[in-house]
């Protein structure tokens, strides 16, 4: 789909880029415009709540992944290692600290403003806590924890939900103090409505991958398409984006085209991508006509495809449920079952696990998942290892060998079956 053939072709990528550029510019001007800045994580981000106070939102993970895509993460990681960070810890943390050490110039060359509030939305990953503790040390600003209990029992309990609601309510005075803006219930409702609408549209895009051929790659494309719902949720432009992006998807369905010219294999992908080698990784799979019809990574910032929507009629409770159900906060048995069910729902032929060495939150347990997919459910599963930020861990030749061997044998098995 290189040359422009259709009306909406490329809009999903392009419009997204425009919105992110505008967002980074707004961030650069935040201090001059007298706006306060909150740092938070993508999983469990309480964007709607913070927008009530007109905070500008910075997501250090998004900066890190953008640096990865732009191939600056390697140098930034080394900067962090220079001040004592081990080569074995989370690459995102080191990327972020490295960026801070270099004057906090973000991936697109604009300056990222210093935080006025660090809100650690602890949503599964314990490294989040260590990361923001380090930022609190270096920036010397207040750190507040939003303590989101892990989904340890496989379901939401009232106790956990109420706990988050109470924390949010207690956070109001601090946010008012920092920004000078009063809490406004109607504003919260308005943001929640925008979110729910955008979520509806996004889910339609995700579900479109059930078509054959799939009009959408739920991993390699989703990472672009999901950016607005992660960083701009609660704003009207976010909803507008999904309205436009969905047009592109419908158009593809209408013309029977998809991201892979000749879809041969449908897979479910687990784990974050290797950002510094994103293209190379995609090419390795494209070579075999692989389309990712579902992925877990596209759910780290919210799990909407099984029905959850931000609900303005009970905003606090709904935000709590949103935090609890993000993919990073789901326990291992839930994650395993989710991937298995995706394979079924989206008629996938295999599961591919991209295991990220420095992200133990995702990777510990993936080998065990693989065992189960193969033994219990007879789903062919490939596990490959590299990293999401650290380019040193990407061994192209080795990855190619493993990927080729896997898809070759898959192809062979199919031929034998037919």
């Amino acid at each position: 789909m290189q040359e422009q053939k259709f009306k909406y072709q490329g809009i999903g990528r392009e419009y997204q880029k425009q919105l992110l550029t505008a967002w980074y510019e707004r961030l650069q001007n935040a201090k001059n415009d007298g706006r306060k800045v909150a740092y938070l994580f993508v999983p469990g981000n309480v964007a709607e709540f913070l927008r009530v106070f007109d905070f500008e939102l910075v997501f250090p993970e998004v900066n890190a992944l953008q640096c990865g895509v732009r191939k600056t993460s390697g140098d930034l990681i080394l900067k962090a290692e220079d001040i004592g960070y081990s080569s074995d810890v989370c690459g995102y943390v080191k990327n972020d600290i490295g960026m801070m050490l270099q004057g906090n110039i973000g991936p697109s060359g604009t300056e990222i403003p210093k935080p006025d509030l660090l809100l650690c939305t602890y949503c599964g990953c314990t490294t989040f806590i260590k990361w923001f503790e380090a930022l609190a040390h270096f920036y010397d600003v207040p750190l507040v924890m939003l303590d989101v209990p892990y989904m340890r029992d496989g379901e939401i309990s009232d106790t956990d939900r109420q706990y988050i609601v109470e924390q949010l309510k207690e956070l109001i005075p601090l946010c008012e103090k920092i920004t000078g803006n009063k809490f406004d219930y109607d504003k919260l409702v308005e943001a929640m409505k925008h979110s729910a609408e955008a979520e509806d549209l996004w889910v339609q895009i995700l579900h479109s991958a059930k078509h054959k051929p799939s009009p959408f790659d739920s991993y390699f494309e989703a990472v672009f398409f999901m950016a607005p719902i992660y960083v701009l949720r609660g704003l009207p432009e976010c909803t507008d984006y999904y309205r436009e992006a969905l047009k592109e998807i419908y158009e593809r369905i209408e013309h029977g085209v998809g991201p892979i010219p000749d879809e041969k294999v449908r897979v479910v992908i687990e784990g974050p991508p290797p950002w510094p080698h994103f293209r190379a990784f995609w090419e390795l799979l494209k070579h075999w006509g692989v389309c990712a019809v579902a992925s877990s990574y596209s759910k780290v910032g919210g799990f909407w495809d099984h029905g959850f929507r931000h609900d303005y009629t009970k905003p606090f409770e709904s935000i709590a449920d949103y935090c609890l159900t993000c993919y990073t906060n789901q326990n291992l048995p839930m994650r395993t079952e989710l991937l298995r069910s995706y394979a079924e729902e989206y008629s996938a032929d295999a599961i591919v696990i991209h295991s990220v060495k420095s992200c133990r939150s995702f990777s510990v347990g993936q080998a065990d998942m693989r065992e189960q997919f193969i033994r219990k459910w007879d789903i062919p599963t490939l596990l490959v290892e590299s990293d999401l930020a650290d380019p040193r861990y990407f061994q192209a030749a080795q990855l190619k060998n493993r990927i080729d061997a896997f898809f070759e044998s898959l192809e062979h098995k199919r031929l034998v079956k037919v």
Binding site: C90, V144, R152, N331, P333, T336
Partner: protein, 389 residues
């Protein structure tokens, strides 16, 4: 027999017990109490009081300390993960934990968290708990939430044992563990005030044994050895007073402690087996016992890299500990791949640099066999501290 043994003989004897990965003390207890349950406790801090109140034996599970080969766990946990997680799973897969009826993991890190998930899948016959500790210490509903978490554990234990756990049972357990903590702290007091009388190597063995015995038995044993330690005839040396930071979960090889001490250090404080003295005050015995435990976690815990702090940051508490322990230098001694320790290291050493306090750093693994280079590094460190002070 125990009574007539010298302190040194006891240490030698205890060491054979803690080195035995077949859990001899647990097997013996199980033989004597065939109808009672054993609960494994993964570090760092776990509420031992609860299984105790249920009449069960809580037992520390600290991996295999390099004593077994990792053959089966490799297919389930990849190689870039700390040894304690891998070897604990290996213990399970090789049926060395078959006498355990339940296992507790807590929200210390992503590895322990996911290990609890792997456990649920692979050992469905065991009760697996993943305890969520509060992370927002300043939130007024944190004690209530953690109390509910404890209540859930209690209910599950009741189901497991078929016996109701009363408030009286809980208060009795709290009291019993308060006493044990007090005795463990006495060892730390000796290490700090008269470090020549008790090495960390020895103190560690005594405390580690405590993770394998019924708590009453361990307290009795401590009551017996503390006077023995005081009576030891050993001369104080001109050693450097150091503190170990970072060894709170996976435990360093015993040889490593010996090497550090042999190189001219008194390890006057550390974060080894931190659960044995987790609270810096006794858990109150008046009022609702579960709420007392919950409030104690929030207000009376020692700092650690795996517990988010409240009003006082970790680095402040770290510096206070250095000051009150009259520590000359800090040894950052962390397990390879241990994210909480390795990430905290940067912040903590920054504080040391600001305050001109010496430190050195190294990583360990369970399977580590050669300590020579560390010995040399520590010797150089000791010389530099002596020279500059």
């Amino acid at each position: 027999m125990e009574k007539q043994m010298t302190f040194e003989e006891k240490i030698e004897h205890y060491r054979t017990i803690i080195d035995d990965v077949s859990y001899p003390t647990v097997n013996k207890w199980k033989e004597e109490h065939p109808n009672k349950k054993v609960v494994g406790m993964f570090p760092v801090y776990t509420p031992y009081e609860l299984p105790h109140a249920a009449g069960m034996l809580p037992v520390g599970v600290f991996g295999a300390g390099g004593k077994i080969e990792i053959d089966h766990a490799d297919s389930r946990i990849q190689s870039f993960v700390c040894s304690i997680a891998r070897s604990t799973l290996e213990l399970g897969l090789t049926e060395r934990l078959k006498n355990f009826d339940a296992l507790y993991f807590t929200s210390i890190c992503d590895v322990a968290r996911n290990l609890s998930g792997i456990w649920q899948t692979n050992f469905p016959q065991q009760l697996v708990e993943y305890i969520h500790f509060p992370q927002n210490m300043n939130n007024s509903s944190a004690p209530k939430h953690y109390r509910a978490e404890l209540q859930k554990l209690v209910s599950n234990l009741e189901q497991l044992s078929g016996k109701k756990i009363t408030n009286e049972d809980l208060l009795n357990s709290i009291k019993t563990f308060n006493r044990n903590r007090e005795l463990c702290l006495q060892l730390y007091h000796i290490k700090s005030t008269t470090p020549h009388l008790l090495s960390t190597f020895e103190a560690y063995i005594v405390l580690r044994l405590g993770t394998l015995l019924p708590v009453e038995e361990h307290s009795q044993l401590l009551e017996g050895i503390i006077p023995q330690i005081h009576q030891r005839k050993r001369t104080a040396r001109d050693f450097v007073r150091v503190m170990i930071e970072g060894s709170f979960c996976e435990q360093p090889p015993l040889e490593l402690m010996q090497v550090i001490e042999d190189a001219g250090c008194y390890i006057v404080d550390d974060d080894l087996l931190l659960h044995s003295r987790w609270f810096n005050e006794a858990v109150p015995l008046n009022g609702d016992p579960l709420l007392s435990l919950a409030e104690s976690y929030i207000n009376r815990s020692r700092y650690s890299s795996v517990r988010h702090y409240g009003n006082k940051s970790r680095k402040e508490q770290f510096l206070e500990k250095i000051k009150s322990g009259k520590v000359d230098g800090v040894l950052f001694c962390a397990p390879k791949f241990c994210e909480p320790a390795l990430l905290d290291y940067v912040v903590l050493k920054d504080e040391l640099e600001k305050h001109n306090i010496s430190y050195m750093t190294f990583e360990y693994e369970e399977k580590m066999g050669v300590f020579e280079s560390i010995r040399m590094q520590v010797e150089t460190f000791v010389e530099s501290v002596l020279f500059f002070s």
